[in-house]
C-alpha cells in the first residue's frame, strides 16, 4: 500500500481509492504501531506553500510549525494520533496519522477571515482589497437554510438584495431586486454561473453552490457593463481542491409542509345570514333560499354547514424531499467535483390537480493541468457542467381569471362538491346551483385544468475552458459557455359541463415544445505584478454571446379519437378545423440576439493600503440599430485601508478599517419586443372576414409601430460609498454602504398619442432614482468549545420615478386587477415610487344621519351622492371641486418596503449546532381583496364581521350591500393595508454524531431538525404578508407588469414546514 495513495488521487481511480480509504480507516481500528517521524508540505488551495502553519498532535502540546517552504516534520506517538493543522485565516484541518510517513495537506481559507477571496467577474480578488459593495455568501450558509431554491437562502442575510416570493407554489420563481427597482422593463439582476449568463439560478441545487457573490455597486458590476444595470449575482459551483482525498457528502431531508394561515371562510349558515343582511341593506326582497338551494333543509337545520372550498383544496403535511450527493477532491494535477440532486415538493394546495414540483440536477466540474513546468501550471483545461430537469406544478396562480385559489375563496359555500347522482351534467361533481348559476365548482375546474397537464423542462448550463499561464504573472484564458434549454408540455382537457357558461364541446389537447441555445465565448488576459509595495493587476478581454436557436412549437386541437389523457397527442386528433375545433399550430425560432463586448480592468494598490480599480466595458447589442448599438460603461473605485496606516498601529481597538467609494455606469439592453428600430409590417391581430363564409380569414398587414431607430442602451449610474470595520479582535464586524443609483433612459414603451395610429415603440424614456443605505453587523466569538455568531442586516431604499418621456408622465397599470370591473390601481409616475397604488382616499364610515348630512360639497348643503347613507364610506374630495371622480385619486399605498432586515443567530457546541434566522420588511403596503365586487353571491371571509351594521360598529369598513356599490367597486384605501412583518423563518437544531461515534468511518454524521416559517409577526390580515404578485402575462409583453407587486388576490401562501435531515460526509 503506497503511503501517499490517499492524498494523490487522480481522476481515474478516485472511487477505488475512496473505498480503499474507507477500508483503511476501518483497518486502522485494529492496528497499533509505534511512534515515528511524519513529514509533509502544507499548501493553500491555489497550491502555494504555507509557511508558519501550526502542526500539533491533537490532545497534546507537542507541535511544530512549517518552514519557509511549507514543510514540517513531527514525531508522532503512534497510528492513533491525529495531527491538527491551524493557520490564521484558514480552516483547521485534522488528519489521522495511521501508518503514513508523509502527510501533505491543503488548507482551505476561512470564510470568516480577511484572506478570503471574492469573485469579482473574470477573476477573483482578496476581499480586503475589494473596493466595491459586494456581498459574499458561502455555500455552506446557503445549504444550512434548507431552501428549495438557493437564492432564497440569501433572504435576510444580504442587505440591499430584496428577495420576495412571487407566491408559495413549489417551484415558483422569486422576485429579486438589487438596490431597488430600477426600471419598468427588466429589473432582474444578471446571474453568472461559472461565467455563463443565466436568467435565474433556480436550476441549481443549493448543495452545488460553493459561493454566491452579489455585486451591488456599479463599479463592481461594471465589468459586466452591458448586463449589470440591475446588479450581478455571481455563482461559483463547487470545485475540488488539489491533493485532497475525495470528500463524499450526502445530504437528505424530508419535510412536511402545511399552510401557515388559512383564510376563514363563512360556512353555509353564516353566509346565508350575511347575504340576507346585504340584501336587506339594498332594499332587495329576501332570497327564497329554499327554492334556489339544494338541500336547504339540511342547511337550515345545521346538519350540513356547506362546502369549505379552501379546505377541500388544501393538503396537510404535503411532502418535500431532498437528496443531494456530492463528491469532490483532487490529485496533483486534477481537481474534480460532481453532484447529483433530487428534489420533490408537493404543494399545500390543489391535490386534485398536478401540484408537484420535481427537480433533478447533475453537475460535473473538473480541471486538469496539462502542462506543468517548474512548478508552474502552464496549461489547465476544465469544464463546469450542470444538467437540470424540472417538472412544474400546473395549479393555476395568477390573475383573478387564472387562479384556482381565488376560485376557491369566492366559490359559493352552498354549492355541494359532488353530485348526488349521475344525471348531474357535471357528474361526479356538482353542477352550479340555481342561486348562483354562474359560480362554477372550483375543484372540478382545478382538476380539469391541471390534473392532465404535465411538463418537463431541461437546461444544460456550463462551459469548457483553457487557461494558459506561460509566466507566473500572466494568465490567458478562453472559455466557451452554453446555456441550452429544451422542454415540452402536454395537456388534456376533458369534456365538461359545470355551468351554463362553463362547458366544453369536445375534449382538447395542447402540446408545446421549445428548445434553444445561447453560447458565450470569452477570452481574457490577466496580468498581476508586484514591484516593491506597488501591486498591480489587470485583465482585458472580449466576449461574444449569441442565441443561436430559440425555437418554440405548439399545437391545439379538439375532439380526439380516444378521448382520454393517455392518448392526448396531437396525432390522435385528426380533424383540422380552425373554426369548429380551434385547431391552432404555431412554430417559430427567435434566434439571432447577440452581444459583442470588450472590457478591461486595472487594479492597483500600494502596500495593500491605497486601493484603486478602474473598469471600462464596451458592448454592442443586436437589439439596437447600427449606429446606436454600442454602449460604453466606465467605472472607478477606490479604497483606503486605514488600519494599515502606521498611525493606526497603536489603536489596537480597531483591527481593520477600510473606507470605500465608487462611481460607475452599467447598461441594460433588455426589451421584450425586438426590432424596434425597424419600420416593418405586422400580421398580428389584423384579420378580416370577407365573403360568404364567416370562417374564411383574410390576413391583413399594418405598420407594426412608429419605428425608433435611435433606441439605445438604458444606463444606470451609481455612486456608492461605505466602510468595513472590524473591532474587538475581529469579533465584531460592521459593513456599511450608502448608494445613489439613477437609472436613466429606461427601455420602455411610454404611451403615445392614439392619433399616431400604431403602437408606440420602445423609447429611452424614463428615469428612476434609488437611494439607500445598507448595514451588516456580525459578531462571532468562541468561549471554550462554544462558538456562536450573530448577523444582523438592515437595508433602506427609497424609490422615486424622476422622469417619463411623454407629456402625461405616467405609465399606466391595467384595469380589472383586484376584481372584474375595477379601474387602474397602480402606475409608474414622475414623483412617486414605481408601482404605487392609486385610488381614492376615504375618511371613514358615516355613522349616523348627522354625519351623512355633513358630507356635502364644499360651501353647499348638497350631498356628494344622492343616495349616501349611514354605513357608507366618505370618499375624500381631494381637489375640493365638489365631485368625487378620477381627479381625486391619489397615492394610497406603496408596495416597495422602506426597510428590509434580517437577523441570524448560530451556535455550535461540541457537535451540537443551532441556528435561528428571521427576516422582515417594513414601510410598505399591500392591496388585498379576496372577494369580487361584481358577484353578490361570492363567499366572504370572516373579515366581513368587521363591517358597519349600526352606529359605532365600524369606523372603516362600510355596510354590506346586495348590489354592487361604490363603497367597494371604487379602488380606495379600503383595500390597502400596512404589511410590516417579521418572520422567524428558520430554526435548526443539529447534532454531529461523529462526536460520540468517534470510530465510525465518516467525517460527519449530522442529524438535524428544522422548522421553517414558524411564526410571522404582522398586523396584515391576509394569508401571507409577503406578496410579490403584480399582473404579468409572459405570453403578451404588453401585459407584463413585472414592476408591480404587493397585490393580494388570495395568492398561494408560503408553507410552514418541519423537516428532518441528515448530513453525511466521508
Amino acid at each position: 500500500m503506497s503511503s501517499n495513495l490517499t492524498f494523490t488521487l487522480n481522476r481515474r481511480n478516485w472511487f477505488r481509492s475512496g473505498l480503499v480509504l474507507i477500508m483503511l480507516l476501518i483497518f486502522q481500528l485494529s492496528v497499533f504501531s509505534q511512534g515515528r517521524q511524519v513529514t509533509g508540505v502544507v499548501t493553500d488551495e491555489s497550491g502555494e506553500t504555507l509557511p508558519g502553519v501550526n502542526v500539533v498532535i491533537k490532545g497534546t502540546t507537542v507541535g511544530t510549525i512549517t518552514d519557509i517552504d511549507g514543510k514540517y516534520s513531527i514525531s508522532t506517538r503512534g497510528t492513533n494520533d491525529e495531527l491538527t493543522f491551524t493557520f490564521v485565516g484558514y480552516l483547521e484541518k485534522v488528519v489521522a496519522v495511521g501508518d503514513l510517513a508523509q502527510i501533505n495537506v491543503t488548507l482551505k481559507s476561512d470564510v470568516m477571515q480577511l484572506n478570503e477571496v471574492v469573485a469579482i467577474g473574470y477573476g477573483v480578488q482578496k476581499k480586503k482589497l475589494n473596493t466595491g459593495s459586494t456581498l459574499n455568501v458561502k455555500g455552506d450558509d446557503i445549504q444550512k437554510m434548507n431552501t428549495s431554491r438557493p437564492i432564497d437562502a440569501l433572504q435576510g442575510l444580504s442587505p440591499g438584495v430584496s428577495i420576495q416570493q412571487s407566491n408559495g407554489q413549489p417551484g415558483a420563481e422569486s422576485k429579486v431586486y438589487i438596490r431597488g427597482i430600477g426600471t419598468t422593463g427588466n429589473s432582474k439582476p444578471t446571474y453568472i454561473v461559472d461565467g455563463v449568463a443565466t436568467s435565474s439560478i433556480d436550476h441549481l441545487s443549493p448543495s452545488d453552490i460553493e459561493s454566491i457573490d452579489v455585486l451591488k455597486d456599479a463599479a463592481s458590476a461594471a465589468i459586466y457593463g452591458s448586463r449589470a444595470a440591475n446588479g450581478v449575482i455571481l455563482v461559483t459551483t463547487k470545485k475540488g481542491s488539489k491533493n485532497d482525498k475525495p470528500t463524499i457528502t450526502y445530504d437528505f431531508y424530508n419535510g412536511w409542509n402545511s399552510i401557515y394561515k388559512k383564510p376563514e371562510l363563512l360556512n353555509a349558515q353564516q353566509y346565508v345570514e350575511i347575504v340576507n343582511e346585504a340584501y336587506a341593506n339594498s332594499g332587495l326582497k329576501a332570497i327564497k333560499w329554499d327554492k334556489q338551494v339544494p338541500n336547504w333543509d339540511k342547511i337550515e337545520s345545521g346538519e350540513w354547514t356547506g362546502t369549505n372550498w379552501f379546505d377541500e383544496m388544501t393538503t396537510e403535511n404535503a411532502q418535500a424531499q431532498s437528496h443531494a450527493i456530492s463528491i469532490a477532491g483532487g490529485s496533483d494535477r486534477t481537481i474534480y467535483s460532481m453532484g447529483f440532486g433530487y428534489y420533490k415538493e408537493e404543494g399545500t394546495l390543489g391535490p386534485q390537480g398536478n401540484n408537484v414540483y420535481e427537480r433533478i440536477s447533475a453537475r460535473l466540474n473538473t480541471e486538469n493541468v496539462i502542462i506543468r513546468s517548474n512548478n508552474l501550471d502552464i496549461l489547465k483545461v476544465g469544464e463546469n457542467l450542470t444538467y437540470t430537469n424540472t417538472k412544474n406544478p400546473t395549479f393555476r396562480t395568477g390573475s383573478i381569471y387564472w387562479s384556482d385559489l381565488h376560485n376557491a375563496l369566492v366559490a359559493n359555500p352552498l354549492l355541494p362538491m359532488y353530485a348526488e347522482d349521475e344525471s348531474d351534467p357535471a357528474y361526479p361533481y356538482h353542477y352550479a346551483i340555481s342561486l348562483a348559476s354562474a359560480d362554477v365548482n372550483p375543484i372540478a375546474l382545478l382538476e380539469y385544468n391541471s390534473k392532465y397537464n404535465h411538463n418537463s423542462n431541461n437546461t444544460i448550463i456550463g462551459n469548457a475552458y483553457a487557461e494558459l499561464q506561460p509566466i507566473k504573472d500572466l494568465k490567458i484564458r478562453s472559455s466557451y459557455g452554453v446555456n441550452a434549454w429544451f422542454g415540452s408540455s402536454r395537456q388534456w382537457t376533458p369534456m365538461y359541463d359545470l355551468a351554463t357558461r362553463t362547458a366544453t364541446k369536445y375534449d382538447q389537447v395542447d402540446q408545446r415544445m421549445n428548445l434553444g441555445l445561447t453560447w458565450t465565448m470569452t477570452n481574457t488576459i490577466s496580468y498581476a505584478k508586484s514591484i516593491g509595495k506597488h501591486n498591480i493587476s489587470a485583465v482585458a478581454g472580449n466576449e461574444m454571446m449569441k442565441t443561436s436557436v430559440n425555437l418554440s412549437m405548439s399545437g391545439h386541437n379538439e375532439n380526439g379519437l380516444f378521448g382520454d389523457a393517455e392518448h392526448a397527442y396531437l396525432s390522435n386528433y385528426k380533424t383540422i378545423d380552425a373554426a369548429e375545433l380551434g385547431t391552432l399550430i404555431n412554430g417559430r425560432d427567435d434566434y439571432g440576439e447577440s452581444l459583442l463586448s470588450y472590457f478591461g480592468r486595472i487594479s492597483y494598490d500600494f502596500n495593500e493600503k491605497y486601493l484603486f480599480t478602474a473598469v471600462l466595458r464596451a458592448d454592442g447589442s443586436s437589439n439596437f440599430a447600427e449606429g446606436h448599438r454600442w454602449g460604453t460603461f466606465p467605472s472607478l473605485s477606490a479604497g483606503w485601508v486605514v488600519s494599515n496606516e502606521s498611525f493606526m498601529k497603536d489603536i489596537s481597538a480597531i483591527n481593520f478599517l477600510k473606507i470605500r467609494g465608487s462611481w460607475g455606469q452599467n447598461g441594460n439592453k433588455d426589451i421584450k419586443k425586438r426590432f424596434q428600430y425597424l419600420s416593418s409590417l405586422s400580421y398580428d391581430l389584423a384579420t378580416y372576414y370577407f365573403g360568404p363564409n364567416k370562417a374564411t380569414q383574410t390576413f391583413g398587414a399594418y405598420p407594426a409601430r412608429v419605428p425608433n431607430p435611435k433606441l439605445t442602451w438604458e444606463t444606470s449610474e451609481q455612486t456608492s460609498a461605505g466602510f468595513d470595520l472590524h473591532i474587538i479582535d475581529r469579533k465584531l464586524q460592521f459593513t456599511f454602504d450608502w448608494y445613489n443609483k439613477n437609472t436613466r433612459d429606461w427601455l420602455v414603451v411610454a404611451p403615445s398619442l392614439a392619433t399616431n395610429g400604431t403602437d408606440a415603440p420602445y423609447i429611452n424614456g424614463g428615469n428612476v432614482q434609488n437611494q439607500g443605505i445598507e448595514l451588516a453587523i456580525n459578531w462571532n466569538d468562541k468561549v471554550g468549545d462554544f462558538k456562536y455568531g450573530v448577523t444582523a442586516t438592515l437595508a433602506h431604499n427609497k424609490n422615486e420615478v424622476t422622469a417619463i418621456e411623454n407629456d402625461e408622465k405616467i405609465i399606466h397599470g391595467p384595469t380589472n386587477v383586484l376584481a372584474q370591473g375595477t379601474s387602474e390601481m397602480f402606475r409608474a409616475q414622475v414623483g412617486f415610487p414605481i408601482g404605487y397604488f392609486w385610488g381614492y382616499e376615504t375618511d371613514g364610515v358615516m355613522q349616523n344621519d348627522a354625519e351623512v348630512a355633513a358630507y356635502v360639497k364644499p360651501g353647499t348643503t348638497t350631498p356628494y351622492f344622492k343616495d349616501q347613507q349611514a354605513g357608507d364610506l366618505r370618499f375624500v374630495d381631494t381637489n375640493l371641486d365638489g365631485s368625487i371622480d378620477e381627479k381625486d385619486k391619489v397615492m394610497i399605498g406603496d408596495p416597495n418596503p422602506d426597510f428590509i432586515f434580517g437577523l441570524q443567530f448560530n451556535a455550535e457546541y461540541k457537535g451540537l449546532s443551532f441556528l435561528v434566522s428571521a427576516n422582515g420588511k417594513s414601510g410598505h403596503q399591500i392591496a388585498k381583496l379576496y372577494r369580487p365586487v361584481d358577484n353578490v353571491f361570492a363567499n366572504y371571509t370572516t373579515d366581513v364581521y368587521d363591517r358597519w351594521h349600526g352606529e359605532g360598529t365600524s369606523f372603516d369598513q362600510p355596510r354590506l350591500t346586495g348590489k354592487s356599490h361604490r363603497n367597494r367597486t371604487n379602488i380606495s384605501d379600503l383595500y390597502i393595508e400596512d404589511a410590516d412583518f417579521l418572520r422567524i423563518n428558520n430554526i435548526t437544531l443539529g447534532y454531529d454524531f461523529k462526536q460520540i461515534l468517534k470510530n465510525f468511518p465518516v467525517e460527519e454524521l449530522r442529524l438535524y431538525v428544522t422548522a421553517k416559517n414558524i411564526v410571522t409577526f404582522t398586523k396584515y390580515s391576509g394569508m401571507d404578508p409577503e406578496v410579490g404578485y403584480g399582473p404579468t402575462d409572459a405570453s403578451n409583453p404588453d401585459n407584463d407588469f413585472g414592476w408591480a407587486s404587493g397585490i393580494d388576490l388570495g395568492l398561494y401562501p408560503a408553507a410552514q414546514s418541519y423537516m428532518i435531515g441528515l448530513n453525511l460526509r466521508f
Partner: protein
C-alpha cells in the same frame, strides 16, 4: 519553452479577434420590411384588410352602434350596477378614466392604416386599372368613414392625413367634413358602378361605390344639420351641394342593385329560429342570411368564429355588441341567448309604434308576449346573478344573440352555422349593418329627391303601413321606426336639434333595478353639445394641444 510561446501566441490571437459589426446583425423573420411593401396588389389588399379590421372595436361597450343606441332615447343603460361602460354613455357621465379610448384609438388606427395606403399608393403596380381604382377608392372610403365616426361622437377632433406621428390640435368642423366629403367623393368617383348582384360574392364586406354614395349623404346630412350649413367646402377646393348628394342617392337607388327585402323581419337572425321560436314560425319567417342573399345591406362590419381573449384571436372578431345587448344573463330562453343586458328598450318607443307595423314586434322583444317563447314564462328579472338594472321588460331584437337547439345542446345559431368556440361570449357573429337600403331611401326623401314620396312609401309599404305625404316630421318618425337600434337615431336627433325634446320626454320610465321597481329619468347634458369626452390620457399626452370637449 518554444511550445509554450506558440500556445501563448495562438491564444492571444483569439483575444481581440476581429469580430465585425455583422456579428450583431439579425433578421426580423416575422414582419415584412416597410421599404419593400405597398408595391403589389397583394400588398395593398393586405393593407386594406388591416384597415377594415378597425371597424370592429375590441371593447364591447365601445362598439359604435351600441354606444349610439345607449346615448339615444331608444335605450336605457342597463347591464349591472357596475357596468359603467353602459351607464356612462347613457347618463352622459365619464366616471372612469379613458372611457372611450378604445373607440378613439381604433378609429385613428384605421385612419393611420388608410393614410399609409393612400400616401404610398403611387408605388403600387397594377395591371388592372379597375382593381387599382377600386382599392384606392376603398381606402378613401374607410378614411372618410373613420373620420365621420369620430366627428359624430366627439365633434371636433385632430385631422391627420399623412402617416406620421403628429400632435395636431382639433380641426374645425368645416375642415373635418371638408376632408370627409373629399374622401367619399374620391371613393364614389374611383369605384366602378358594379351592381350588387354582379359583384363576386367573395367580395362581400368590401366597400362599394354605393356605400360611398350613402355615406356621403349621411355625412352631408349630419354636417349641414348639426352645424346649420347648406353645403360642404371640400378639402383642396370645390364644394359638395345638396343636389350633388341627391344625384348620388338617386344613382344608388336606381343602379346599385340594392333593394328592400320583402319582409323586413327576414333581415334579422331571429328569422332563422323557425323551429323553436313561435313568432318566427307563426309568421313564416325565413332568414335571408349573410352569404350574399341580403341585397338590402349596403355596408356592414363582418364578424367570424375566431374570437377569443388571447392572441392570435381577439374579441372584436366576434360581434360583442350583440353579446352586450342581450337580455341580461338569461339562460336557455330559446331563441334569446345569454348576454349583458345593455340598452333595455324605452317602453315609450314600443308604445309609439303602430300595432300593425311589422317592425314593432320585428324590432322589440316584449317579455310578456307568449309568442316570444320561453321569455314570457321563464324570464328572470336581474338575470342569473340578480344584479341587472334598468330593466324595462323590453329588449331589442335586431342585435341579440339567437340560440337554437342542436346536437350540441342549446347553442348560438352562428355557432351551428360556422363553428367556433362553444362559448356564448364568442359565438355571436352577426353582420353589424352600418348602411341599409331603407336608410338610403329615407335619406333620399329627406334630401328632397324628386322621388322623395316614392322612396318614403317604399319603406312604409314594406312595413305593412299605408302611404303618407312625405314631410320632415313624417321622415323623422319613419327613421326612428325603421332604423331603431341601428346606431343612427342619436345622430339624427343631434342634426335635427331634437335631442333636448327627446330626452325631456324620457321621464319616469318604470324600470326594475335588481328586481325592485324604480323609475328612470334621462340625464342628457346640453353643455356637452351631445358629444363624448376626449379620452383624458390623450389630452394629457398632447401637452394641452388637444383640448377637452365642452361640458367634460
Amino acid at each position: 519553452m518554444k511550445r509554450i510561446i506558440y500556445i501563448a501566441l495562438i491564444a492571444t490571437s483569439f483575444i481581440f479577434q476581429s469580430c465585425g459589426e455583422e456579428f450583431l446583425d439579425t433578421k426580423n423573420l416575422y414582419e415584412k420590411l416597410d421599404v419593400d411593401y405597398y408595391k403589389t396588389p397583394a400588398d395593398i389588399n393586405e393593407a386594406l384588410t388591416a384597415a377594415y379590421c378597425c371597424m370592429a372595436i375590441d371593447n364591447g361597450a365601445n362598439n359604435q352602434t351600441l354606444l349610439a343606441n345607449l346615448m339615444s332615447d331608444d335605450c336605457l343603460g342597463g347591464g349591472s350596477e357596475i357596468d359603467e361602460g353602459f351607464h356612462n354613455p347613457d347618463r352622459f357621465l365619464n366616471s372612469t378614466e379613458d372611457t372611450y379610448l378604445t373607440f378613439w384609438e381604433t378609429m385613428y388606427t384605421g385612419i393611420f392604416r388608410t393614410n399609409m395606403i393612400i400616401n404610398r399608393f403611387n408605388q403600387a403596380e397594377y395591371d388592372d386599372e379597375v382593381a387599382k381604382n377600386q382599392a384606392l377608392g376603398e381606402a378613401y372610403f374607410l378614411r372618410g368613414y373613420y373620420y365621420l365616426k369620430l366627428a359624430q361622437f366627439f365633434g371636433n377632433v385632430p385631422l391627420i392625413t399623412v402617416p406620421e406621428p403628429l400632435n395636431n390640435p382639433k380641426a374645425s368642423e368645416d375642415e373635418l367634413f371638408g376632408q370627409i366629403a373629399y374622401d367619399f367623393k374620391q371613393a364614389i368617383e374611383l369605384m366602378a358602378p358594379t351592381k350588387y348582384q354582379s359583384i363576386p360574392v367573395e367580395n362581400l364586406g368590401h366597400a362599394t361605390k354605393w356605400a360611398a354614395e350613402g355615406m356621403m349623404a349621411r355625412a352631408f346630412l349630419f354636417y349641414t344639420g348639426k352645424y346649420n350649413k347648406s353645403e360642404i367646402a371640400l378639402a383642396g377646393g370645390g364644394t359638395i351641394t345638396k343636389s350633388q348628394v341627391v344625384g348620388w342617392i338617386d344613382d344608388c337607388v336606381a343602379n346599385s342593385g340594392h333593394g328592400l327585402i320583402p319582409d323586413f323581419r327576414n333581415i334579422w337572425p331571429y328569422a332563422y329560429a323557425t323551429a323553436d321560436y313561435p313568432y318566427a314560425k307563426n309568421n313564416n319567417l325565413s332568414w335571408v342570411g349573410e352569404e350574399g342573399g341580403n341585397f338590402e345591406t349596403v355596408f356592414a362590419v363582418k364578424y367570424s368564429p375566431y374570437a377569443g381573449w388571447n392572441a392570435p384571436a381577439k374579441i372584436s372578431y366576434s360581434n360583442s355588441m350583440t353579446l352586450c345587448s342581450a337580455l341580461r344573463e338569461q339562460s336557455s330562453l330559446i331563441p334569446f341567448g345569454n348576454g349583458w343586458g345593455a340598452g333595455p328598450v324605452n317602453p315609450n318607443l314600443w308604445s309609439s309604434f303602430e300595432d300593425k307595423d311589422t317592425r314593432k314586434k320585428g324590432s322589440i322583444i316584449d317579455i310578456t308576449d307568449p309568442e316570444e317563447g320561453n321569455v314570457s314564462t321563464d324570464y328572470k328579472w336581474g338575470g342569473q346573478n340578480a344584479n341587472g338594472v334598468e330593466e324595462t321588460g323590453f329588449g331589442q331584437k335586431k342585435y341579440t344573440p339567437i340560440v337554437v337547439n342542436s346536437s350540441a345542446g342549446v347553442v348560438g345559431m352562428y355557432y351551428v352555422l360556422y363553428g367556433g368556440e362553444n362559448n356564448f361570449q364568442l359565438w355571436n357573429m352577426q353582420d353589424e349593418i352600418l348602411l341599409r337600403f331603407s336608410d338610403i331611401l329615407l335619406m333620399g326623401a329627406e334630401l328632397g329627391s324628386s322621388n322623395a314620396q316614392n322612396y318614403f312609401d317604399r319603406v312604409r309599404t314594406r312595413a305593412g303601413l299605408d302611404s303618407k305625404p312625405v314631410s320632415l316630421d313624417a321622415i323623422k318618425a319613419e327613421r326612428r321606426y325603421e332604423l331603431a337600434f341601428e346606431g343612427v337615431r342619436y345622430f339624427d336627433l343631434l342634426r335635427w336639434h331634437d335631442e333636448e325634446a327627446a330626452f325631456a320626454a324620457m321621464k319616469n320610465i318604470p324600470v326594475k333595478n335588481i328586481g325592485e321597481d324604480e323609475v328612470y329619468n334621462a340625464s342628457y347634458r346640453p353643455e356637452t353639445k351631445g358629444f363624448l369626452p376626449i379620452p383624458e390620457s390623450q389630452v394629457l399626452l398632447s401637452n394641452g394641444k388637444l383640448e377637452q370637449n365642452p361640458g367634460w
